[in-house]
Every structure is written in structure tokens, then in C-alpha cells.
């Protein structure tokens, strides 16, 4: 088991460093000098030169690259050009808002997706199953930013049931949760569909298993069999799915944050782009990527713990 976990972690580390390499290459390929971009058109040549030295732009490429790697490993993502604050601090400050959104999205998708999948599997082939099937496909297909805008229009602007803007009063949990409902629905809606489909498929498979047949032979009620014995196994594939899902939810959260004017990583990056604040962009993207890779590794290891078959197929 430990070998499997280590192997998975090692692979994750390699992926992160390749991703970092690409990140560096992209920043290096920026048309125009980052120093002149940072200082604007009115900078004197002396100011430019000083900043170039401070940013290490006067060094050869390979040294810049090693320097970049070294500082990232030490947790130093550079300083923001405008306010001179460390990039990592700025990013960490926004991270909880985005995480809350992703957790909210997962809550929506699990709370609705698993029951829908179970109902569809129990009513296999029937009308209810077909309706859930079409609904699931539809939820997967519609892009999250359309869901965000339409839900804003319906529930916040027209009906005024829920707040439209911001993340709520700091310290006031009710207000925070109220502000979370719509954006997290936009982030999680598609995953309700994915989860209900995968739970349905794996539930159908599980219901064929011999221990379920034994339970039936003992005369347990169908509900008891499905929701106590089968669900426990049928729910496993959702864990891997959510590992991938979190990456997509991080993407959708950019839209949700902009549409609902919420603070968060997505909004941070979006606003940094318009003022060409490169360190923030690359720092935030790096943090999100590392987070995403780690979540996937964690999901894989978790599945490996729960399902020995996965472990052996990896070796």
C-alpha cells in the first residue's frame, strides 16, 4: 500500500515540475519585457534596469529557470509588482473563498447526484430512469457560466430570493451560506449529472454481485439492500470522479466568482490580467495546479485504500 502511495506521489511530483517548466516557458515567451510592462511607459531607463536586476531578468535563461525552481520550492512565488506584497500571501488570502465554492459545488453534486443515481438504478429502464438520464446529460452539457448568469437572473434579480453580489458579511455564517448557494450551484450542477450517471452504472453492476444476491435470498427489503449494502460499494467510483471534478470546479469557479462578484482565486487572476500583473497570474495558476494535482493523487490513494484491485493494477 505504501509503495502504491509513494509511486502515485512521485508521479504527481513529476507532473507538477513539468507543469512548472511549462509555466516558466510561457512567462519567458511573453512578448515585451516584463519590467517595462510592470513600470509602464513613463519609466526611466535607470528604473527599468534596477527592476530588471531585481527580477533577475539580466541573468541567462538557465539561471533564471533554476532560480525560479528554487524559489518556488522555498514557497517564494515572487512579489507583486503593484503593491510589493509576496504573491503567495495574496493568493493564500483568496484561496478560502474559492475552496468554499468548490466544497459547495461538491455538496450540491453529491447530495443530489447520489440519490438520483440510486433511484435511476432501482427503476432501471423505466420512465423515471429515462427522465433522470436526460436530465443528467443536460446538466453535464450546459456550461457553468450560463447556469451562473441564468440563476443570477432568476433567483437574485427577478425573484430576489438570494443575494446577487459578494461573499457575505465576514463572521456571519448565515449570510456567508446564503451568498454561497447560487454560485456553488453553478459550479456543481454539471457534476450532479456526472455523479448520478456513474452511481447508476456502478450500482447496476453492484446489484449483480453475489453478496447482494445473498442479501436478497435472506429476504431483506430492496431499499435496505440498495441503500445500505450496495451503495457502500457503488459510491467508490465517485471519489476518483470528484478528483477530476475538483479541477473542473476550479475552472467554473472563475466564472461564478466574476458573475456573483465574489472574491477568490479566479477573480484575482482575471483582474490581474487586465493590469498585466504577471507574477499574480503565474503564482495563482501554479497554486491552483499544484492543488489540483495533489487532490487527484489523494483521490487515487484513497481509492487504492478502499479498493485493493486498483492498487494491484497500478503495479
Amino acid at each position: 500500500m505504501i509503495r502504491y502511495a509513494l509511486k502515485r506521489l512521485w508521479l504527481g511530483a513529476i507532473i507538477i515540475s513539468v507543469a512548472m517548466m511549462m509555466m516558466f516557458a510561457m512567462v519567458y515567451l511573453i512578448p515585451g519585457d516584463p519590467a517595462s510592462v510592470a513600470l509602464g511607459p513613463r519609466a526611466t531607463p535607470e528604473m527599468m534596469e534596477a527592476l530588471r536586476v531585481r527580477m533577475g531578468l539580466d541573468q541567462p535563461v538557465w539561471r533564471q529557470f533554476l532560480h525560479f525552481y528554487g524559489s518556488v520550492l522555498r514557497g517564494d512565488l515572487g512579489t507583486e509588482v503593484l503593491s510589493n506584497r509576496p504573491v503567495l500571501d495574496v493568493v493564500i488570502e483568496q484561496l478560502p473563498f474559492t475552496l468554499a465554492l468548490v466544497v459547495g459545488g461538491i455538496t450540491w453534486s453529491v447530495a443530489l447526484g447520489i440519490p438520483l443515481g440510486c433511484i435511476a438504478a432501482v427503476r432501471r429502464g423505466g420512465f423515471v430512469d429515462q427522465v433522470i438520464g436526460v436530465l443528467s446529460v443536460a446538466m453535464i452539457a450546459v456550461p457553468s457560466f450560463v447556469v451562473a448568469i441564468y440563476s443570477l437572473l432568476v433567483f437574485a434579480v427577478a425573484l430576489q430570493w438570494l443575494p446577487a453580489i459578494g461573499a457575505g458579511e465576514p463572521g456571519d455564517l448565515t449570510s456567508r451560506l446564503q451568498h454561497l448557494i447560487l454560485p456553488s450551484l453553478a459550479v456543481g450542477l454539471g457534476w450532479i449529472g456526472y455523479i448520478s450517471r456513474i452511481v447508476r452504472a456502478s450500482m447496476l453492476e453492484t446489484l449483480e454481485a453475489s453478496h447482494i444476491r445473498t442479501a436478497r435470498a435472506f429476504g431483506l427489503t430492496e431499499n435496505r439492500i440498495v441503500y445500505t449494502y450496495a451503495l457502500r460499494i457503488a459510491v467508490l467510483p465517485t471519489i476518483t470522479l470528484l478528483g477530476v471534478g475538483i479541477g473542473h470546479m476550479l475552472s467554473s469557479s472563475v466564472f461564478a466568482e466574476i458573475v456573483f462578484a465574489r472574491p477568490g482565486i479566479g477573480k484575482l487572476v482575471y483582474e490581474a490580467i487586465s493590469v498585466r500583473n504577471y507574477p499574480i497570474v503565474s503564482g495563482a495558476v501554479l497554486v491552483t495546479t499544484v492543488f489540483f494535482v495533489l487532490v487527484n493523487v489523494a483521490a487515487d490513494i484513497l481509492v487504492g485504500v478502499l479498493d485493493p484491485r486498483v492498487r494491484s493494477s497500478f503495479n
Binding site: M26, V157, A201
Partner: protein
């Protein structure tokens, strides 16, 4: 031709497929005949008619510059479909080439390519899009580039797996023993066998590409104004959502209909041709 007809009949027999195919046909036709379906020009500004609500004169209303929204939606369909088809085609070619190289080439090259695919896939899509736009500025090409980075790793991986399977198939062995070159084997004996399944997967990816274009244009990172794009209409509407709700409806509806149409169509196509993939998410 009769094969195509049989496919269409098979799709129309499924309720979901019928809805999908109808929507897809509707979207394609309205984009192709955009200029015949409306008498307005897509970017003609008419300040006197700003924020006009839907009426017989303007079926979907007008936007903040008095432009007819129906016209912009129809022409926006051209942009969306052209990008969807173009970017998907480019991704397909690149994915096939890389996948064949990874699957048929030496082991070390396979490992390197797999690592690169995984690394590219580990960037969340929108973050990747934001980074690229920071570097290259917003444009149609930025959209295509993002679509490629999102799609190519997936396509290449599938092609690679199929190539690995076919590599040791009898007919490929036979061709190799008769001295066929690697290029000929790939082109004549492997590619025709793997292109079918990938085309079905691609039909299911079209909605994703439409969403990427609309999403980037919504953020102002894609197609530049005044080119009509569904995402840009949504953005115009979003800025005025409290007073002129019809603008966001006009921008969002075609996105919803197109993504639903292509998804329903693709799902039915897949069930029809490859029942093994059924229920795969």
C-alpha cells in the same frame, strides 16, 4: 449514401437523438443562412433603439448599442460553429499524429509524451486560458490554442492506446514482415481502424469547444468586439442584467440549445455505433 441515411434513421428513432439532430440541424442552418434570415446587419449601431425589449420588429430585442439581438445571435452561430469545427479538426490532426508517435514509436518517447499530456491536463482549463491570454492577448487564436491544449492530450491518449493494441495485431505483423515502412503501416493498417471511435468522441466534444469559445468571449478574452459571439452578447447582457433581462436570455439560449443538441446527438451516435461505451461518463 444509404449508410448515411441508415444512420440518420437510427438516430431519429431514438427520442433523444431526434431532439439532438433537430437542434444541430437548426443551429447549423441558421448560421449558414444568417444573412438571409435577417434584414439587419450584425454590428450596425442604432442609438435610437437602445435597450428595446422584444417586439415584432426585434424578435429578441436590442442591446445597449441598439443592435438587433436576433441578428447577432444568428451571426454569432457562424463564429461558434467555425471555431468549434476548425479547432476540433486541428486538435484531431495533432492528437492523431502525437498518439501514433507515442503508440508506435520507441518506449522512451512514449513515456515523455505521456508525461507531457498529463502535465498539460493538470492545468485547470480556465486558468490555462487566462494564462495564455495574459501572454498573447485576447483573440480568436487564443481560443483555438486553448481548445487544442484541452483536447489534444485526450485524443492522443486514446489513439495511443488503440495503436498499442493494433501494433501486435496479426495484419500489422504480416505487413511488417513483408517489409512495409512504419509510415505505411500507420497510414494503411492502423489509422483506418482507430479513426471511427475517435470521431464519435469528437462529436461529443463539440459542445465543450462551443462552451470554451463562448466562455472566453464572455470574459472578454476571446473573439474581439464588434464581431458577434454568443459569449460577448452574454457579457453585454450581464452588464445590464437588472434592467434589460432579454439580452442575457438572447446570449445564453443559443449556447444552451447548441450544447444540448450536440450532446444528445453525440450520445445517440455513440450508443448506435459503439454500445460498449454506453453508460461511460
Amino acid at each position: 449514401m444509404s449508410g448515411l441515411w441508415r444512420t440518420v434513421r437510427g438516430i431519429m428513432r431514438e427520442p433523444l437523438g431526434a431532439v439532438g439532430l433537430t437542434l444541430v440541424t437548426l443551429v447549423v442552418l441558421s448560421a449558414v443562412f444568417a444573412s438571409a434570415l435577417t434584414s439587419y446587419a450584425p454590428s450596425k449601431i442604432s442609438p435610437a433603439e437602445r435597450f428595446a425589449s422584444p417586439s415584432l420588429l426585434h424578435l429578441l430585442g436590442t442591446d445597449h448599442l441598439g443592435r438587433d439581438l436576433l441578428t447577432r445571435v444568428l451571426y454569432g452561430g457562424r463564429v461558434a460553429l467555425l471555431i468549434a469545427l476548425g479547432a476540433t479538426a486541428v486538435s484531431l490532426v495533432l492528437g492523431v499524429v502525437l498518439g501514433l508517435i507515442a503508440g508506435y514509436g520507441p518506449r522512451w518517447l512514449d513515456n515523455v509524451l505521456l508525461l507531457i499530456f498529463d502535465a498539460v491536463k493538470s492545468f485547470p482549463t480556465v486558468m490555462l486560458a487566462l494564462t495564455l491570454v495574459t501572454l498573447f492577448g485576447p483573440s480568436l487564436y487564443a481560443v483555438v490554442l486553448v481548445v487544442m491544449l484541452v483536447n489534444v492530450p485526450g485524443y492522443a491518449r486514446i489513439i495511443r492506446t488503440q495503436t498499442l493494441v493494433l501494433k501486435s495485431a496479426e495484419h500489422v505483423m504480416a505487413a511488417r514482415s513483408m517489409g512495409a515502412s512504419a509510415g505505411r503501416i500507420l497510414r494503411v493498417h492502423i489509422l483506418p481502424n482507430i479513426i471511427g471511435p475517435i470521431l464519435i468522441l469528437i462529436s461529443m466534444d463539440i459542445p465543450v469547444v462551443v462552451a470554451i469559445e463562448a466562455g472566453m468571449s464572455f470574459l472578454g478574452l476571446g473573439v474581439r468586439p464588434p464581431t458577434p459571439s454568443w459569449g460577448a452578447i452574454l457579457n453585454d447582457g450581464f452588464a445590464n442584467i437588472r434592467d434589460s433581462y432579454w439580452i442575457v436570455i438572447a446570449g445564453g439560449l443559443p449556447i444552451v440549445l447548441t450544447t444540448l443538441g450536440f450532446t444528445f446527438f453525440g450520445e445517440t451516435l455513440r450508443d448506435l455505433f459503439d454500445p460498449r461505451l454506453k453508460g461511460r461518463s
